[in-house]
Symmetry: C2
Subunit: 338 residues, 2 copies
């Protein structure tokens, strides 16, 4: 059997079972002198270096591969640098933390232009400066295809927010506009304010670090970042929590520039566009309603958690009518998506 037959989730499940099975191994006590608070399967791992547990350190990694996650034609090197760190910062944000130290691994063909590499790092340094993180090392290797792997640590006070704590009756909310990045991918060369907004949303996403810290301060238990699209990411969260979810298509926070430019497709872009890097979070209705009013522009209640098949997410319109299911997901090893 090949991994494309098993699918991304099947492969991850298999490896997670192997890794967790290892934990009972006799030689393995040393790793747990730290207090591991979040294990495999969430946006980051987390542990508490002190016994009091009030500070958590976070640890995550994310990779971009040429021809899979980007092409040099549609993503300038400068933006590639920004985005490769942004996706990792967003994972740290989703736990409620802020980024600290990054290691950068570059796989590069020997023919790579030095000026392109400088642009790549310039993009990394810009977002690094803006979010207060430091690049402290990495690795550089020859590779026939460009890839960029970032490993990032973070730090937070309080309890990390996880994917596994959603309960039936929770409201589902997001911290910002949905679909803008997907809209920016569609028409990279257009002029005008709307096109500029959409292009910047796609090329320079701003991870929601401040919002994540606010959510953690208010003791929100469940959050993740929206990187693959709301419908797909809520399904992952529901799967991890053992619940179902429902999205209200008429309540999606869509930016006016997106709805004016894509009047027919903006709902679908908001549901499945991907790379939004807003946070998705759940909690009791009174707390969520209170919090949404305190978060920056665009925050909104977009759905609810219900009992049901783990990971099943439906989308309903204003009249309660279920929208037809579409494959908005993304399986890295599914060759049909090539």
């Amino acid at each position: 059997m090949q991994i494309k037959d098993l699918g991304e989730f099947g492969v991850i499940d298999l490896l997670t079972r192997m890794v967790v099975g290892q934990r009972s191994g006799p030689g393995n006590a040393g790793a747990f002198s730290f207090n591991l608070t979040v294990d495999n399967g969430d946006d980051t791992a987390a542990w508490s270096p002190s016994t009091s547990g009030t500070i958590n350190e976070l640890f995550t990694t994310d990779t971009m591969v040429e021809g899979v996650h980007f092409t040099r034609e549609t993503t300038p090197w400068h933006d590639l640098g920004w985005k490769s760190l942004a996706s990792n910062i967003s994972d740290v944000a989703s736990m409620g933390g802020r980024p600290a130290y990054a290691l950068i691994t570059l796989g590069l063909p020997p023919q790579t232009e030095v000026s392109d590499l400088e642009s790549l790092y310039q993009g990394m340094l810009e977002i690094g400066n803006e979010y207060g993180l430091a690049i402290v090392g990495g690795d550089m290797v020859r590779s026939p295809v460009v890839f960029i792997t970032v490993a990032l640590t973070g730090v937070m006070h309080g309890q990390p927010m996880v994917r596994t704590a959603a309960r039936p009756g929770d409201k589902v909310a997001v911290t910002g506009h949905l679909g803008s990045s997907g809209g920016g991918l569609e028409n990279p060369a257009e002029d005008g304010a709307a096109a500029d907004y959409l292009r910047v949303s796609h090329r320079r996403p701003r991870p929601a670090v401040a919002a994540g810290q606010t959510l953690a301060e208010f003791e929100i238990a469940t959050a993740m970042d929206v990187s693959d699209g709301l419908a797909d990411d809520l399904a992952k969260l529901c799967r991890a929590s053992g619940v179902s979810g429902r999205i209200f298509s008429d309540r999606l926070p869509v930016h006016p520039f997106l709805s004016s430019r894509f009047p027919d497709d903006c709902v679908e872009l908001a549901l499945g566009g991907g790379e939004d890097y807003v946070l998705l979070f759940t909690g009791r209705p009174a707390k969520i309603n209170h919090l949404v009013s305190r978060l920056p522009a665009g925050a909104a209640v977009v759905g609810e958690i219900i009992a049901g098949e783990p990971g099943r997410v439906t989308v309903v319109d204003a009249g309660g009518q279920e929208l037809p299911a579409r494959n908005r997901g993304w399986d890295h090893f599914d060759s049909a998506q090539d």
Copy 2:
């Protein structure tokens, strides 16, 4: 200009200058609420989470790319898993620490066999168990070429050993046999005890975590691990410390199995074979002589630090005669090494 023209060191220098230049950026204060004790350019980065500075956390990453660092023909998946973690554990060992948490990034073609992936993880879990580390997450992406990136954290008491503290008059020593791994690469299919020893040295290297902790306890200031061969790695250490070095070719700790199997080439294998994963360390002569006697079999004084051109390393025989310089180094972007 392309990166192959600038060379690996040139590229690293360029990017390090950019990264260090960033540190004065106005938005960047947040990263330094931790106390960064070792920055870019060493085997790992390090910081102290407490203000007392008695505990340091370590952070490193290392990548293996198919066709560059291994081929599926010569490295079974199981061994690939072991080695991909071993190189990172060795970096932690070289600072004086022990490994804690790992993130595994896999770039895989969709046609990868699930059983091969299981073998890869089995190899990782075996060395992970033996060294008391836990895999806590990672990323899996589609890629036309197999690559494995490990990001590893570690922890240590006391001051991390660095590459930058060697001084003229220091003795240079290593913690174990040299060249065995290189010998194991040469003849993978042979039978017999010598071949078995060499093959295991190549396929299942054992990072010197215990030795590194001993060195740190004795307040050795300068160490790194030998991954690219003694001559090349000592040159890197000398370059970082702004000194020259001299290796005594008659004092290299060569295992009897290596010298019996490769009587003519064992010195060259010891100097440039690579993937030894022993530790190289320097210090005042009395301290080094004392320490060598306390370390496991194979530890030996192999050279000395002298004033001179930074990074220049010569090899002399028992009569003090300089051996001809050979290119034992490894530049990832030099196409002559394809």
